[in-house]
C-alpha cells in the first residue's frame, strides 16, 4: 500500500500558496477560506487501467463499516460495503458512497498554513500563508514547551470529536496530556453527543457505555427517539437488521417508535407515538406501571411476590418484604415512591399520547419476549434526560432483556497487543507532580462547581474561558470537532477562540479553521492508516483497519502522525516516548501482534492479514442470561454458570451487582446531586418523573434532529448529499424548518417562505416547510447546515441552529440539552 508522503514538493507548495492567494483575492470582507478554482490535474496520476480494491473503514460515522475502495488509474471512483466485514456485510448506508466526494472535495486544505492577520472574526480574512510541516510542528512545540516551562501546561487543551478505544485516531491521544501535563488533553465531545444514555446505563446497570443489541433475535422493539432508520448507529447494520426482522424472520418483529415528528422510523414502525418533547420518561414510567399492574414482568429475572400473587395495584403501596427480587434491586421502593401513581391516564396528560395506546404498547412490550427498549438523544437531550433514560432502560430489566438472547448487553474490546511504548515509563517529575495536577479541567467536568458526574463538558469550555473560571486556555488543538459551530450557544466558543492560539486539523475549511492560527490539515479517511475497535455492536470483539487507498492528494498528514510529530519535539521524556511510538503504522503493527494468540474468526492473525481482510473479529459475546441464570462461554457454548459475584464483576458492576431501580452510583454523590438538581431526596436516585425545564419564551419546541445524510458533519460541503438531505420534506437545497399547518396558518407562513426563528439567544432564518409530519407544538429543523465558514457549498447554506440553542445541560450527565429550547417564528 501507498505510504503517505511527507515532502513539500514544489507543486504542493504552489497549490497551497495558490489556494491562499485565491482566498485572499476572493475573500476580502467575506471571510472566505478557499479560492473557487477548478481542480483538475492535481488528481491526475499515472495510468495503468488496473482497478485496485482496498480494504478500509468508512469514516462518516462511528459505526465503522468495512469498505472496499475501488481505485483505477489513481482515481478513487467507487466505495462499496465490504463483504468481509461483519457490520457492513457488503452493504452501505447512503453516506458510505459519498466518500469519493469527501476525498476529492475541491475546498480541502492543500498543506499546512499559518495565520498572518492577528484579528479574528467572521469577517476577518485570516490571510493564511503556507508553511512547511517542520515549521508547523516547531511552532506548536515551542508554544507548548514554553507553557510547560512556566508551569502553565494545563492551559493547553486538546479537543477531539471522533474517537474510540485504545488508539482513537491512529495514536492514543490520552498519553499526550498525561506526559505533557494537562488535564485538558484530551477533552472529548461526548457531552454534545450522547452521554445521557451512558449515564443512564451507569446509574442503573453500572456500565458507563452504550449498549450492544441483539436485534436479530428480538421480537419487539420499543424505540424512544433513537432514529433507527435515519440516524441511529450502526445505521447500515440497523437497516440490514430491519430487512431481516420485518420480513425474513418468522415471527416478524413488532416495532413501536416514539418521537416528536413523523420520520422514516416512525413511518416504517407498526406504531408511531408522537410524544411531546422531553416527556419520554413519563411514557416509560406508565408502561412500567402497566407491566407491573398487569403482571407482565419477567419473573425469572426480576423476581416475584413471595406468594406469587400480584399486589401491584394502581395507587397502592406494597410491603417491601413481600417481593423477592432476583437480578434487580429496589423495585418495591421504586413502586411505592414513584411508579404506583404513574398511570397511562396520568401519562396522557403529560405526553399527549392517548392512554389506550400506552396500555396497548405496554401489553405488547410486556408480553412479547425477547423485547428491547432503546433510546437516544430524543429522550435524553433534556434537563430530565438521565431520568428519562433510566426509566426507559428499566423496562429492559422488567422484561428480562439484559444479557439475554434478543436483548441487550455491552461491548467487548479487541485482543490488541501492547503499544510500542508504555507512557508510564516516560513520566517525568513535572508530569507526575507538576502544578497541572492541582488544576481542574477547563470544562469543570468532575468538579463540584461544574458537572461532577459528567464525562466531558466541551460545551462549557468557551463560556468558562471567557469568564476566566477556572482559568483561561492559552493553546487549543482541535481534532474532528468544531465546537464553535456545534455546541449550544456556539457563539461563546467562537468568542473564546479569539483569545486562544488555535490549531485546526480539519482537512476542510470550517469555523474553527477560520479562527485558527495554524492549520495542520489532516488526511481524509481514504488516505490514511488507522484502526478502530468497534462501536458497541453485538458484543463480540471486532477491530477494523483503515488503509490508504491513495497517497494523500495534498501535503497533508494524518492527525495521529501530526500528534507524534509534535510530541517528538516536546522536551524531556515526552519526546522520547513519541520517538519510540514512531508512527501510526508502527502502532498498528504492534496492536496486531495481539492477534497471534487470538486469531480472528476470519483467520486474521497478524498485521498483513488484518490489512488484507480489513478487520479482525472473534464471535461470540461471552456471556448470556437465560431465564434468570447467567452463563459464560466455555469455547463451545454458554455452559459455565456464573456466580452473582462474577456477574457483578463482569456484567453489572453496581454496588448490588444487580440492575438498580434505586441507583447506588447516584447515591454515592447524593449531596451533590440534591444540591445541583433540587430533586426530592426520596426519589432523586430512581427513575422518576420530573418535567423538563424548557428554556426560552417562545411557543414552539425547537427540535434539531440528525438526518440520514448528516455524515457526522462531513456532508455539509458535498453537493450530492445536500440534494438528498431531507427527503421526506423535499429539502434538496438546504435543511427546511418543519412547521405544522396550524402554526403556519396563524403566522401567515407558506411552504418555501423565509421565516425568522427567535430564541432568547437571538434569531436565525430558515425556509419553511408546512407539513403534517410535525406536532403542532414543535418546530423541527435538522442541524448540519448553516455554516458561516466552510467550503463553497456549505458556507452560507441553510440555518445554523446552535446559534439559538440555549446552553442548558443535564446536571447529572452533562448532556447538552439540544432539544429544550422554545422559540417563536414569524415570516421574515
Amino acid at each position: 500500500m501507498d505510504k503517505p508522503t511527507m515532502k513539500v514538493t514544489r507543486r504542493r507548495f504552489l497549490q497551497a500558496s495558490g489556494t491562499a492567494a485565491g482566498a485572499a483575492g476572493a475573500a476580502i470582507g467575506t471571510g472566505q477560506l478557499v479560492g473557487l478554482k477548478p481542480i483538475g490535474e492535481a488528481q491526475a496520476q499515472q495510468a495503468s487501467g488496473q482497478t485496485v480494491v482496498n480494504k478500509s473503514i468508512c469514516g462518516q460515522c462511528p459505526a465503522r463499516c468495512g469498505i472496499d475502495i475501488y481505485t483505477t488509474d489513481g482515481r478513487v471512483h467507487a466505495i462499496y460495503g465490504s463483504n468481509d466485514h461483519p457490520i457492513a456485510n457488503g452493504k452501505l448506508c447512503p453516506k458510505g458512497h459519498l466518500g469519493t466526494y469527501i476525498l476529492y472535495d475541491p475546498d480541502r486544505f492543500k498543506g499546512p498554513m499559518k495565520r498572518t492577520n492577528p484579528n479574528k472574526g467572521r469577517n476577518e480574512d485570516p490571510k493564511f500563508v503556507p508553511i512547511s510541516w517542520d515549521e508547523a510542528f516547531k511552532t506548536v512545540a515551542d508554544r507548548l514547551n514554553a507553557l510547560r516551562d512556566k508551569g502553565e501546561s494545563h492551559r493547553f487543551g486538546l479537543f477531539f470529536g471522533r474517537g474510540w478505544g485504545a488508539s482513537d485516531v491512529g495514536v492514543n491521544i490520552a498519553p499526550f496530556g498525561k506526559l505533557y501535563g494537562s488535564p485538558n488533553a484530551p477533552i472529548g465531545h461526548s457531552s454534545i453527543c450522547s452521554d445521557g444514555s451512558v449515564l443512564a446505563k451507569q446509574c442503573t446497570d453500572g456500565n458507563a457505555s452504550y449498549s450492544s443489541y441483539d436485534y436479530r433475535n428480538a421480537n419487539y422493539l420499543l424505540i424512544f427517539g433513537a432514529n433507527f432508520l435515519e440516524a441511529f448507529r450502526p445505521y447500515n447494520n440497523n437497516m440490514q437488521v430491519w430487512g431481516h426482522i420485518r420480513r425474513d424472520k418468522t415471527p416478524r418483529t413488532s416495532v413501536t417508535y416514539v418521537d416528536v415528528h413523523m420520520n422514516q422510523t416512525a413511518a416504517a414502525a407498526d406504531r408511531a407515538l408522537l410524544v411531546k418533547p422531553g416527556t419520554d420518561g413519563a411514557l416509560a414510567l406508565a408502561i412500567a406501571h402497566v407491566i407491573l399492574t398487569e403482571g407482565l414482568w419477567e419473573r425469572s429475572f426480576v423476581g416475584d411476590f413471595t406468594d406469587g400473587q400480584n399486589r401491584f395495584k394502581t395507587g397502592q403501596t406494597i410491603e417491601p418484604d413481600s417481593f423477592t427480587e432476583k437480578w434487580t434491586n429496589g423495585l418495591a421502593q421504586w413502586w411505592n415512591t414513584e411508579l404506583k401513581d404513574r398511570t397511562p391516564k396520568w401519562a396522557e396528560a403529560i405526553t399527549t399520547i392517548p392512554a389506550d395506546l400506552i396500555v396497548k404498547t405496554a401489553r405488547e412490550f410486556g408480553t412479547t419476549r425477547p423485547a428491547i427498549a432503546l433510546f437516544e438523544r430524543g429522550a435524553h437531550n433534556h434537563s430530565n434526560g438521565v431520568l428519562n433514560g433510566m426509566a426507559i432502560h428499566s423496562l429492559n430489566a422488567l422484561v428480562g432483556s439484559l444479557f439475554a438472547e434478543g436483548g441487550l448487553a455491552y461491548q467487548m474490546g479487541p485482543a490488541y497487543g501492547p503499544a510500542p511504548a508504555d507512557p508510564a515509563d516516560y513520566m517525568d517529575d513535572y508530569a507526575k507532580n507538576g502544578p497541572h495536577k492541582k488544576m481542574p479541567r477547563i470544562d469543570l467536568q468532575g468538579h463540584e462547581d461544574g458537572y461532577l458526574m459528567a464525562k466531558n463538558m466541551i460545551q462549557e469550555v468557551g463560556t468558562n474561558h471567557l469568564a476566566g473560571k477556572p482559568y483561561k486556555l492559552d493553546t487549543a488543538l482541535f481534532y474532528m470537532t468544531n465546537p464553535c459551530f456545534s455546541t449550544p450557544k456556539a457563539k461563546d466558543w467562537e468568542e473564546a477562540l479569539k483569545s486562544m492560539f488555535v490549531i485546526a486539523t480539519s482537512p476542510f475549511p470550517d469555523e474553527t479553521s477560520m479562527m485558527a492560527d495554524l492549520i495542520l490539515p489532516d488526511t481524509t479517511y481514504i488516505e490514511r492508516w488507522q484502526d478502530a475497535p468497534t462501536y458497541p455492536f453485538q458484543g463480540w470483539p471486532l477491530a477494523q483497519l483503515r488503509t490508504p487507498a491513495v497517497k494523500p492528494l495534498y501535503d497533508v498528514k494524518t492527525f495521529g502522525d501530526t500528534l507524534i510529530g509534535i510530541g517528538k519535539l516536546i522536551k524531556g521524556p515526552t519526546g522520547e516516548y513519541y520517538k519510540k511510538v514512531e508512527s501510526v503504522e508502527n502502532i498498528l503493527r504492534h496492536l496486531a501482534k495481539g492477534f497471534e494468540a487470538n486469531p480472528g474468526d476470519n483467520g486474521v492473525k497478524d498485521f498483513e492479514g488484518w490489512k488484507a481482510k480489513g478487520c479482525w473479529y472473534k464471535k461470540p459475546y461471552h456471556w448470556r442470561q437465560v431465564r434468570g441464570e447467567f452463563f459464560e462461554w466455555d469455547g463451545k457454548g454458554w455452559n459455565k454458570p456464573m456466580s452473582p459475584d462474577q456477574v457483578k464483576a463482569k456484567l453489572m458492576p453496581t454496588a448490588s451487582g444487580k440492575f438498580e431501580f434505586v441507583s447506588s452510583y447516584m447515591e454515592k454523590k447524593k449531596d451533590w446531586v440534591l444540591k445541583a438538581t433540587g430533586r426530592d431526596p426520596a426519589k432523586y436516585n430512581m427513575p422518576h418523573w420530573e418535567p423538563p425545564k424548557y428554556t426560552g419564551s417562545g411557543d414552539l419546541h425547537f427540535i434539531t434532529p440528525k438526518t440520514a445524510m448528516h455524515a457526522e458533519g462531513r456532508s455539509a460541503n458535498l453537493p450530492h448529499a445536500i440534494t438528498l438531505f431531507q427527503p421526506a420534506n423535499g429539502g434538496n437545497k438546504q435543511s427546511l424548518a418543519e412547521l405544522h399547518p396550524s402554526v403556519a396558518k396563524a403566522k401567515g407562513i407558506k411552504s418555501g417562505d423565509r421565516i425568522k426563528i427567535k430564541s432568547d439567544l437571538g434569531e436565525i432564518f430558515a425556509i419553511a416547510k408546512v407539513t403534517e409530519l410535525t406536532r403542532p407544538d414543535t418546530l423541527v429543523l435538522p442541524f448540519e447546515h448553516g455554516h458561516w465558514a466552510g467550503g463553497r457549498w456549505s458556507k452560507g447554506r441553510g440555518s445554523h441552529v446552535d446559534e439559538i440553542t440555549p446552553a442548558q445541560s443535564d446536571r447529572i450527565s452533562g448532556m447538552a440539552n439540544y432539544y429544550t429550547g422554545k422559540v417563536s417564528v414569524e415570516k421574515a
Binding site: P727, A728, N729, G730, N732, S751
Partner: protein, 387 residues
C-alpha cells in the same frame, strides 16, 4: 395582371408601417441575439426547463408557428386547391407567410434541441417509424419543400400549371398529415391526461386554421396601411367579405372548443387534468385569452365593423395573442403535475421562461418579420394569377 397600377392614396401609411416593421424586426433581432446569447455561453442550462418540466416556451412557440403556417396554407389552398378564386388575391401572401412562420417555428425548435445538426443523418438513417415525432418531422419537411417549391412556382408566375397545382395539392396534403402527427405527439400521451385524446389533431386543425386567418387579418391589413382601399379590388373584397366571415366562424368554433376542454377539465377527477385546468382557468392569462383574446374579437366580428381594416387588425392581433397563450398553456399544462418526483416537487411545477428562452423566441420572430419584410418589398406578394 390586374394589380393596381395607380399609386394608392395612402402610400404614406404603407411605408410608415413598412418602416416600423423593419425597425421592429431589426430591434428584435438585436434584442433576441442579446438575450439568446446565453445559449452560446451556458447552453441549455440557461433554460428554465428541466427534467421536471421538459418542454417550455421554445417548443410552444414552435407549435404555434408551424400551426400558423398550416393555417396560412389552408387559406392559400382555398384558392389554389379548392378553386375558390376569390382568395387568389391573398394567396401569395399566405404562401409566403406560411414559409416565414414555418421558418420561425423551425428556428425556435432548432435552438431548443440538443444536437440539431445530428438530426440530419440520424433521422433518415434510423427510420424510427414508431415515433409520431419522426412522422411529424417527415411531413413537415415534405411540407416545407413543397411549400418553398410552390412559392417558387407562383413567384415565377406559374399559378396554374399541372405541376403547380399538383405541388399545391401535395403541400396541402402534407400539412394535413404534418399537423395531425404534431397533434398525435401530444394526443397519444396516455400518461399525460391533460394532453391525451383522439381529438387533439382535430383541435390542432381548427386552431391552426384560426391562427392562419388571424395572421391574415392582422398582417395583410398592415401591409396595406390598415386601409383596404389600398388593396386591389379582389383583395379588398376577400378581406372585407369572405375572410372576416370565415374568421368569425372558425373563431366561434375555437371558443366552443376552448370552453369544452376547460369544462371537461374542471369536471374530471384526474388530478393531472382537473388541477391543471383549475390552475390555468384561474390565471389572468387564461381569462385574457378567453375574454379579450377570443370572445371580444368574436363579438367585433359579429358587428358591421368586421369589414373594416382597423377592426380586423385589432381582432386578428388579439386572436394571435390568445392563440400564442393557448399554445403555451397547452404545452406547459401537460407537464405541470410533477411525474414521480415525490417531495422533491410536491406542488405544481413553477415554470416561467428564462431570458434565453424568451430571447430565442424574439430572435426567431424577428428573423420572421425581416423575412416577411423582404418578401413584401421584393417578392411582389400582391401578385395573383391573371383572371
Amino acid at each position: 395582371m390586374s394589380t393596381i397600377t395607380n399609386l394608392a392614396p395612402d402610400q404614406a401609411s404603407i411605408s410608415r408601417i413598412s418602416n416600423l416593421r423593419l425597425m421592429v424586426g431589426v430591434t428584435g433581432l438585436v434584442l433576441g441575439l442579446l438575450a439568446g446569447i446565453g445559449l452560446l455561453s451556458g447552453g441549455h442550462a440557461t433554460f428554465n426547463t428541466s427534467s421536471l418540466l421538459t418542454w417550455g416556451l421554445p417548443v410552444s412557440t414552435y407549435v404555434f408557428f408551424v400551426l400558423t403556417s398550416t393555417g396560412l396554407t389552408f387559406v392559400a389552398s382555398l384558392a389554389m386547391v379548392f378553386g375558390l378564386k376569390d382568395f387568389y388575391p391573398v394567396a401569395k401572401r399566405c404562401v409566403w407567410g406560411a414559409v416565414v412562420t414555418l421558418v420561425i417555428g423551425f428556428i425556435s425548435l432548432g435552438l431548443e434541441i440538443g444536437n440539431p445538426i445530428r438530426m440530419l443523418w440520424v433521422i433518415p438513417t434510423n427510420m424510427a417509424v414508431t415515433s409520431p415525432l419522426w412522422w411529424m418531422g417527415l411531413f413537415y419537411l415534405t411540407y416545407a419543400i413543397l411549400l418553398f417549391w410552390k412559392f417558387h412556382l407562383i413567384n415565377q408566375g406559374d399559378w396554374s400549371s399541372q405541376l403547380s397545382k399538383l405541388v399545391g395539392i401535395a403541400s396541402f396534403v402534407a400539412v394535413i398529415f404534418a399537423h395531425a402527427t404534431l397533434g398525435s405527439v401530444f394526443g397519444m400521451m396516455a400518461m399525460r391526461p391533460f394532453w391525451y385524446g383522439p381529438m387533439v389533431p382535430v383541435y390542432f386543425l381548427i386552431t391552426a386554421f384560426l391562427s392562419g386567418l388571424a395572421f391574415i387579418m392582422l398582417f395583410i391589413n398592415l401591409d396595406y396601411g390598415v386601409n383596404q382601399s389600398n388593396m386591389s379590388e379582389g383583395a379588398a373584397r376577400a378581406m372585407s367579405r369572405q375572410l372576416p366571415a370565415i374568421f368569425a366562424i372558425v373563431l366561434g368554433l375555437v371558443i366552443v372548443f376552448t370552453i369544452a376542454k376547460t369544462m371537461t377539465g374542471l369536471w374530471t377527477n384526474v388530478p393531472e387534468n382537473k388541477i391543471v385546468t383549475q390552475h390555468i382557468a384561474s390565471s389572468f392569462l387564461f381569462q385574457f385569452e378567453l375574454w379579450i383574446g377570443m370572445v371580444l374579437p368574436f363579438l367585433l366580428m359579429l358587428t358591421a365593423k368586421r369589414h373594416e381594416a382597423k377592426t380586423q387588425v385589432v381582432a386578428g392581433g388579439l386572436v394571435i395573442i390568445a392563440l400564442f397563450i393557448g399554445r403555451y398553456e397547452y404545452v406547459v399544462g401537460g407537464q405541470l403535475v410533477p411525474m414521480f418526483k415525490g417531495a422533491w416537487a410536491d406542488g405544481l411545477i413553477d415554470y416561467t421562461p428564462s431570458l434565453t428562452e424568451i430571447g430565442i423566441v424574439v430572435l426567431a420572430v424577428s428573423i420572421g418579420i425581416l423575412l416577411y419584410a423582404f418578401g413584401d418589398k421584393r417578392l411582389s406578394l400582391s401578385d395573383q394569377p391573371n383572371a
